[in-house]
Symmetry: C2
Subunit: 256 residues, 2 copies
């Protein structure tokens, strides 16, 4: 499925104007129904939609692992899932629409149950490198300027997974979904996001158990508070060979 569209545009450059064509990113509305009931519409980029759905459901606490998904069927702009009824606290409210830039603070994340005992260290130079990989990976951003990206890596960087989406929450949820669908352990993993770190992004990271969250951009005060409480190493403003470590620096080896 195409994720971009080519449009005509009048390009102004200094005092000269001329017609040209340019790629823009599409908004794709994906309607999610669970056990026959409409749950939500996610506005997204139509790539890796199975991961997006699995990641969203996991981030919202509606599934624990892939075995909770009994069936999944895509049809056009809709996806229908059958989940174990006992694991789906779905209300009778009308479906929600979550647009490309949206996220919801999940009310059902039991943050007390999240523990991060992992204390293995990663070299600070790997953090610089991994953020650099993220920014070099997005062809779609180079084409359209309209997407966010996320990258999952292990400490030694011999495993990396890159995902992008019009929504910064969706990009992270695609990573989470890949982990859920492929039973990837969060141990010794680093999640990098192109976007700012709000409490929602921090909670998505916490819920799936990733110990280190890295952003090329700014964190909010609440995300720092939560990272502090939950034991997550939060690093922001990684640009070139600079970074800010906000919390739990014990996992970063600053000697190499």
């Amino acid at each position: 499925m195409n994720v971009t569209r080519t449009v005509n545009v009048i390009r102004g450059n200094e005092d000269t104007f001329y017609q040209m064509s340019d790629k823009v990113i599409k908004e794709f509305p994906l309607n999610i129904a669970i056990n026959g009931q409409e749950l939500i519409t996610l506005v997204c980029s139509p790539m890796h939609l199975d991961e997006l759905v699995a990641g969203y459901l996991s981030s919202e606490g509606l599934i624990k692992d892939k075995n909770d998904i009994h069936s999944i069927k895509f049809s056009g702009k809709s996806v229908s899932l059958t989940l174990d009824q006992s694991t789906t606290p779905i209300s009778n409210n009308s479906p929600k629409i979550v647009t490309s830039s949206s996220g919801k603070v999940s009310g059902n994340i039991d943050i007390k149950s999240i523990h991060f005992d992992e204390n293995t260290k990663v070299a600070y130079s790997s953090i610089y490198e991994i953020a650099d990989v993220l920014s070099r990976s997005s062809e779609l951003f180079k084409d359209t300027g309209g997407v966010h990206s996320a990258l999952l890596s292990n400490f030694s960087m011999d495993f990396t997974l890159f995902r992008e989406d019009i929504g910064r929450h969706n990009a992270v949820d695609k990573i989470v979904g890949f982990m859920v669908l492929n039973s990837i352990s969060p141990e010794h993993k680093i999640l990098v996001t192109s976007g700012r770190v709000s409490s929602e992004i921090l909670l998505k990271t916490a819920r799936c158990g990733i110990p280190i969250l890295v952003s090329r951009s700014a964190p909010t005060d609440l995300s720092i508070n939560l990272a502090n409480r939950l034991g997550i190493t939060l690093i922001g403003f990684v640009r070139g060979r600079r970074m800010n470590i906000y919390t739990h620096e014990r996992r970063i080896d600053i000697t190499n």
Copy 2:
């Protein structure tokens, strides 16, 4: 109310690490109740909250002008409003949480009722200038890197209004709210946003009647479609002395 907080951070610069303090942006949850019923929680920056509330309600089609607000009372992180019952199509669903990056596609915007007959031209050089004003205005962004901004200007730029918020939709809603509360006409106005233009931002602009929408960033295909249909001039990627005019270029005077 403070919109930032100072935190301790370990700053890495090349191979050197040192402790310093740095400002980060706060997430402020504002609970909105209408006629005694909880409507929504907006995660925002606590500045110009009256405008944010008025703008949000206007963008959602819950009020038409300031006379629809009978009373408004702030208390801590809550605001209670009394609106004319006949103008408030509030459902019985439980309250929604809209986080700092969120927006909702309004189902109740009657886009057929929006007409843009205005054909007055604005000099292209003013578009360059106005985007430049936006990027120079945000002290908070310089401090924290964590906010979006929006600017309303008339064509001659002797009226400008700057607002910022942790959420890009909120920054635009604060502009809309100022217009609602002060009965500012949208005629001959330009709205500039620091963020990407999704369909939601385009619809906010359309609903309040502003004929020209300018972004320093990318538009989506759907926002371009809507701008085309609704008669809005949509300009993106205004950086330095470059821009892309996507729709209705008739309002831009490319001769000066």
